[in-house]
Subunit: 304 residues, 4 copies
């Protein structure tokens, strides 16, 4: 169900909360439907940019169960299981795979530096997560860990359960091209790109299979991926229309507040509430987001 | 000539090289004219993102002299004097101020952490650079140093020569708003924004005085600043047209190669040559840049 | 039971494991007795240098219960509750305080930089841990966060539950002197020092109240603290005897393997086993440790 | 004169200043004599922990000339040429090699992360420094760059001018053992150890050729190296006597103030002056250092 053929758009789901801070299960259901209606080919939950660490173990487990139940087998659900220790990673993986998740995602911890340290870490991680299909998250801006092509090649060679790279190195286009060169990897894996989608047209052209990120308009990403082969200029026209907002959502830290505000404004989730600590949008920030949404609507109308 | 009223667009100039690696003085002249014709209200040279450390002291001095001579008093020239030690900073400052520079820019070194350390560093720097008007560069993504509003307020209060903040925190819009709140700073300074201009419309709305960055189409920044008061929607239409390329140029490390390629393509500099170490554009990267330039031309034609 | 008068030696306890990786409760009991017999005035468990993240939540809770039961009220037990999110920190705090812990210890997460961010973090943490007496851990080498004296002063002023600073800045002697100057803090808190005890004589002379660290010979730290007022030269003679081994144990990462090896060799814990990931001692490393132990025995005999 | 057979003690020289901040050439001469009388087999100047960046280019050149003249061919002189750009590194290398230096030392810049980036950096550096014998400085605590054994092996294999590793990884004993295993490096290079000498007995036993560090009592390092083969227990007795002071001098940042204070107290240099920015010793710090010096004298007398 989730393997090296993964393609399309895996939306990184937010975690909706009620104003009192409890997980909002009704919004969770609505969000699942919204993402799938928009054309998502998969969902990814409890990502490191999300609010996973703000949930207790019990809450995480219940949230994943609810997501999986609502998805009802229509698309694969991937769960972020990065944790400060392997005991927690093992426990969470076991729990979510039993709940019906299709795979797990692991980001490297901040203290890793040398190539050997990074490869060694994934070896150990796989000892704990077992045979669950694994996404390796390559996100230096947030993790502080730079994974070179030789490192990724060693992980792919050594660990058969690594089926997908969540690519969000920046700059990262040459890395995609290199990974796609014959002989660089000893088998093909899926490459799904992050960074809020702001490089998606170029990433597709370089050989990516799609996106795995959480931009609040997943239809943009679905369009770019869909038009990539048939009508890339049309895909780019749409991409350009969304870019002013995508760029705005791409602000580190603040991005989640923007994303939740847009999703709430679009009626997907009931509240933009974040658990603490969370960067809040000021009134000026809200006005900026809503002005960008209005400009987007106008531009889409022009494009037809 | 350069003080706290600085406004408009201070273009961060590249350092043009001949294919043999020597400084290209003819291109330097042409570049100065190009920036000024585009509406630049100032120039900034030898920035940390540029190739300043690749020049010898003698080359730096000769380059600044040539720039100042060509500018011929039309706009102020600011020179980046960040250096690993104060002896070098003092020597460079003295040399460029005698050559006719209007001010200097200082970025905090990577090892500073606490508020007191940062403020203390600028106190010491000013002991060495003397009464030259100073731009404080706030660029955490590259320097690794986060300057809070209280830190900036202390620098402004303690050091009268600090007349301008080169703002490129990310996210940074709330910081501009806070700095502009009455009472936060004990005197108004100029705020000129970086980050390749990709947040310029919002930055102007938050109270910035303009841009200090090196996007290869300075006319975009000039337009956004010019239309900010009179016709901001027109300014945004133009901004949006340039954004796909501005976003592409904003890739860390690779950005300079893109910028020099565009400037060479536009006939401003003779060669896109960088001194080593420098990230080069692959053929695929060149194609991406040129496709974006072509789309920009079409979009500008549509906008009229 | 644990407040701003805390003094003496709070030993940072290791977490003993059986060869199969399960928590070794018998060794845990023996270790508690050993530390208390050596003169410990408190115990600290689940520290960031220990193996806390390698335990599941259930294991952590059971381990703390066992420790508290064995201590049986003889000394206070402090528990490290640093966690990637406040939900986990809150849950663990509640659990261990109900089990009879006397306080909790919180280290700042790696991403904090500015003074305001650090102070803000502790404000939020206290909202979650409630009225549990709190130790602030100042350990820049491991956390990457530098806490200046003004930051500590603000935390002490704002948060009455902060009763103790675990001081392991390096260099850090001037910081102790400054914190002890009249007027710098608006109330006196306990300062207990870390760094494996390798600066303990100087730290006591600067105004520290004792040690909170895990050197495998707690009797050294007890002696230095005890002799500090009465016969400091005798204290230093003993300190110097232990220093070659203390210096060796102070190697980052490897230190825990050395510490566990010594404790096993001394009969305190049954096995030096660590859970993965853990740096292991090579045969050469074992020989080095044991040679240092033998030299220590000889030197102590000389000193009488 | 300086090649892969380098052994013994290469003392890292301080840069002596007069109270007015100018370089103190008389103290420089006296310091050279002192180090050579103590048994130094080489000198290293302008290291990254020293005050190299506080000198102008002209001052650096004059200082190296003076050192080389005073040494008068008795031992090799190595010069640190790490610089933010290759143009400066090239210029300084050329200048000091012409002055009679025997080799240069290069530390990796802070932004390097992956194995390929580090190896690539040294390839480029050698393109600029030419055929000067090169010391690679492996000092993660200060540079932030972790050089694994495979990285060092690639540098040694690719770059014949790399004749020596200045080893100050921490922990680093296993690294020495691994580098000395047959087949790990394709040729033997010199390994000289740093970290203020605080691990020197163990480093010698693991296969190091000596020390390259600046502890203010070079005679300790000379003794440990000398006794290593013939009477290691005697070497350790002496080492242990100096360790309380060596540990104290090993404090990051503050260490240079301690080192200069001791050298001034010993009559080697006229003043402990540092150029700014420099951490100064407080009166309490001075008292601590002098108490440690007095205890050292007593202990050496006991040892005979």
């Amino acid at each position: 169900m989730f393997d090296e053929t993964a393609a399309g758009v895996y939306v990184i789901a937010v975690t909706p909360f009620l104003p009192d801070g409890s997980v909002d299960m009704d919004s969770t259901d609505r969000m699942v439907d919204f993402y799938l209606d928009a054309g998502a080919t998969g969902l990814t939950v409890l990502g490191i940019m999300g609010e996973a660490p703000k949930l207790t173990g019990a809450e995480s487990a219940a949230f994943v169960k609810r997501i999986v139940a609502r998805v009802a087998g229509r698309v694969p659900v991937i769960v972020g299981v990065s944790a400060p220790g392997f005991a927690q990673m093992e426990g969470l993986t076991k729990s979510v795979m039993e709940s019906g998740a299709a795979g797990v995602m692991v980001a490297p911890p901040n203290h890793l530096r040398t190539d050997d340290q990074i490869v060694g870490y994934y070896h150990q991680a796989v000892d704990f997560i077992g045979d669950a299909p694994m996404v390796v998250q390559d996100f230096p801006l947030v993790t502080g860990v730079q994974m070179s092509v030789p490192v990724i090649a060693r992980i792919v060679r050594d660990l058969p359960t690594c089926v997908c790279l969540k690519h969000e190195d920046w700059p990262g286009l040459e890395k995609i091209s290199t990974l796609r060169k014959p002989g660089v990897l000893d088998r093909r894996i899926s490459i799904l790109c992050g960074n809020g989608g702001v490089f998606l047209p170029e990433e597709m052209a370089r050989g990516a299979d799609g996106a795995m990120t959480g931009f609040a308009y997943p239809e943009m990403m679905v369009s770019v991926v869909k038009h990539h082969a048939s009508d890339p200029e049309r895909g780019r026209d749409l991409f350009d229309a969304y870019l002013p907002l995508a760029r705005f959502e791409q602000q580190p830290g603040l991005g989640l507040a923007i994303r939740k505000h847009v999703l709430a404004k679009r009626g997907v989730i009931a509240h933009a509430t974040q658990r603490r600590p969370g960067a809040a949008l000021s009134p000026a920030g809200v006005a900026e987001v809503e002005a960008l949404m209005a400009r987007l609507t106008r531009r889409l109308a022009e494009l037809g």
